[in-house]
């Protein structure tokens, strides 16, 4: 029964959710709405579980003096301070102007979050120089497309091409060409065709997996190595 009941629940709930998509009747929509509300509650519980797990994993690493344990200490301290301020000092008003929670958000979370993302630019420049090596025809095609899209997306691309064309004495008909138009064509045609193929392939894979789960053929989510 430990396996049969979860399998039955999955099949019934999966069936209801699929039916609600295609059957505009309250027999399908009412249970589906209820299940959606349950899903929202379960996700909210997930945050509690996730928070508890962060504490468990990091406190264990701190006590056992694992590698980089001082960073984990900072993480746990930050989590505790934010949690205590939110729960006991700011309470429901934790997002209002002037509260300690919002101060932490504005002065710590926002700059650190933005910094992590901004650092990508430096690593991309370094990777472009050291790792983007053209060793085959396919890599050459990728590099040419990347250069066109990269330059076509910014005003400097067209400005640079215009300056080169003006100084090179290029025929008048070619002077009208713009790298941004070429970039738009790459995005509209070859990129779109490839992306659509990937999307359709992935969607069919999701449908097949979903059906396997609902029908009880795929049981890996139950655990136990089945």
């Amino acid at each position: 029964m430990r396996r049969e009941i979860p399998l039955l629940l999955t099949a019934v709930i999966g069936g209801i959710m699929i039916a609600s998509f295609f059957v505009p009747h309250e027999w399908a929509s009412v249970p589906a709405d209820y299940l959606q509300q349950c899903a929202v509650i379960v996700v909210a519980f997930g945050y509690v579980l996730g928070g508890a797990n962060v504490f468990r994993v990091n406190l264990d690493a701190i006590f056992k003096r694992h590698r980089d344990w001082p960073y984990k200490l900072v993480l746990v301290a930050g989590l505790l301070v934010t949690l205590i301020l939110g729960l006991f000092v700011d309470r429901a008003r934790f997002q209002d102007p002037g509260t300690p929670s919002l101060w932490i958000y504005d002065h710590l979370y926002v700059p650190m979050n933005a910094t992590m993302f901004a650092l990508l630019a430096f690593f991309i420049a370094s990777a472009a120089f050291r790792a983007f090596r053209i060793r085959s025809a396919e890599a050459a095609l990728l590099a040419v497309a990347a250069l066109i899209v990269m330059l076509g997306r910014v005003p400097a691309g067209d400005a640079m091409l215009r300056a080169i064309v003006d100084h090179a004495g290029v025929p008048h008909a070619i002077r009208a060409w713009r790298i941004s138009d070429l970039q738009q064509w790459i995005m509209d045609v070859p990129q779109n065709a490839a992306k659509r193929a990937i999307l359709i392939g992935a969607a069919m894979g999701v449908m097949a997996t979903g059906l396997r789960v609902i029908l009880g053929i795929e049981r890996a989510y139950l655990g136990g190595g089945d």
Partner: protein, 278 residues
Amino acid sequence: MALERLERLDRRWLFLVLGLLVLGPLLWPLNLPIEPSRPSRQFNDAIASLPEGCTVLMSCDYDPASRPELVPMTKTALRQLWRKHCKVVVTVLWNGGPAIVDQTIEETADEFRARGEKLVDGVDYVNLGYKAGNEAVMVLMGQGIKSTFPLDQHRHDTSTLPILRNVTNYSSFPLLVNISAGYPGTKEWVQQVNSRFHLPMISGCTAVSVPEYYPYLQAGQLRGLLAGMAGAAEYEQLQGERGLATHGMDAQSLAHLFVALCILLGNVVLWSRRGGRA
């Protein structure tokens, strides 16, 4: 000799040059001309074609990491909507986003108030705040906006807000404006709401996620698309503004040129090494 030195180049020199190339145009703008692309024009036209005074749903699904790309387009969209006297109902599906979205709304509303125009929270706009659940929240909103968000960001009872008096579900909106940094975002709104509830939608997103949304744009599921900071700058251009995205584009232009140069130089080094061995 020069190529050998280039091959052994410390990457910190690359970081320094890139840093200067980004900083320089922010301090001394180059004012490079910006030409709006077709997807950006479509985004602009979709809002321009809305009836005056209608109520629009806007989902701002991002956190501070995407601030330079997404906050400028959020502000320009709010300005365009409020110039048309549209009412805006805002939701957030990213847990790191409610505060930054709230600040963005209030900063833009303050611009209008400074000009003597009356914009009242709960009457002309409302931030419903964050709700956990991703796609489940999107589907629940199709059953009822007020039942999904009983309280707004500032804990006002949504059933008493004048802006939501005539709002029931997605059928109450002529358009969804989604500003998205990833998951959950544009893809999920298209799959769960556009295709299921037939709510027309437009999207502004980070540059890295644009290729994923182009099929939806071409299929007409998205009626317009702003692609990253470049899209935001083009949108500002269409609205006759010189905002944060326009200022940032000069820096981004030089950074793109530098990355392109890095690719070329890296390969020149590779080819010269191969040539030397041959």
